[in-house]
Symmetry: C2
Subunit: 136 residues, 2 copies
DNA sequence: AATTTAAATAGAAATTTTTTTCATCTACAT
DNA sequence: ATGTAGATGAAAAAAATTTCTATTTAAATT
């Protein structure tokens, strides 16, 4: 948890019980969740937290690099805990069965400055797969 | 348009006026749009189309490979016309200023079967940048 | 330890986005 | 021409997200 606390502080943000509770949830379940999921679990397991706070905090924690934004084209936001010890550039590979998130290193896109005449500003890569456990 | 008509037919779907109208809109503006955008333009420029039909058709056209799903983390869906003459595997690069979409070839991810022990099922890559015109 | 203050919070309400339902209609294969 | 699976629109509902505001709180400063 100290790791996350530091990250929050380094971003000039406050370490609040809500934020710790949200990180805790992700730490325990290790899958990706929607704001609604978080809201439900906060009510069950931890202190209550208003839905607007959930939205704000998920977004803030994502900006701190603590949470990863997960892309699914089902019109919901998903977030997952970003398991990366160092702060190195990376993306994520998601298990479509259990939801586990693993870091995906070795992206060579961020080194390039231009592609097809476009000046590169940002990029997003996500791989969906089936993790070792779920393959059996 | 014949190119698109064939794609729709090849997917066992009907070529309806609505679908042609939607493709027409994308063909004229060449940027990425939300379902709401499409709905508005259909009312203005082409025949009217109910909002549910817009949602359904955008999704259907995306599955045919005619439209590309664009990822923005602002909680809206975006679609854009996929300008790729052949059916080769590719992704997209988006201009964050004007919204233009260009194909991004040379993805080497889809060749790999496994990464980090994960069996790869799918992957998504998107690059955001500024196109030649908008750089000036 | 008390004070201060900018940031964070909850809760309600409003807004926006998306989906469902269902009766009707249509593209197109036969 | 006709039959049929697929497509459509209208209305309604559901779901997701944001706004607003009064209140509370973390943590820096006394």
């Amino acid at each position: 948890m100290n790791f996350y606390v530091d990250k929050i502080k380094n971003n000039g943000l406050k370490v609040t019980p809500r934020r710790k509770a949200i990180i805790n949830i992700f730490n325990h379940c290790r899958v990706h969740l929607t704001p609604e999921d978080i809201f439900t679990r906060l009510k069950e397991e931890f202190s209550h937290c208003g839905l607007p706070s959930v939205y704000r905090n998920l977004e803030i924690l994502a900006e701190c690099g603590i949470l990863a934004r997960i892309y699914r084209f089902d019109n919901k936001r998903y977030y997952g805990l970003c398991h990366s010890a160092d702060g190195a550039h990376h993306h994520h590979i998601i298990c479509i069965k259990c939801g586990t998130i693993a870091p995906l290193k070795g992206c060579n896109l961020f080194k390039r400055k231009k592609i097809n005449g476009f000046k590169i500003i940002d990029h997003f890569i996500q791989v969906d797969g089936i993790c070792k456990n779920c393959q059996e």
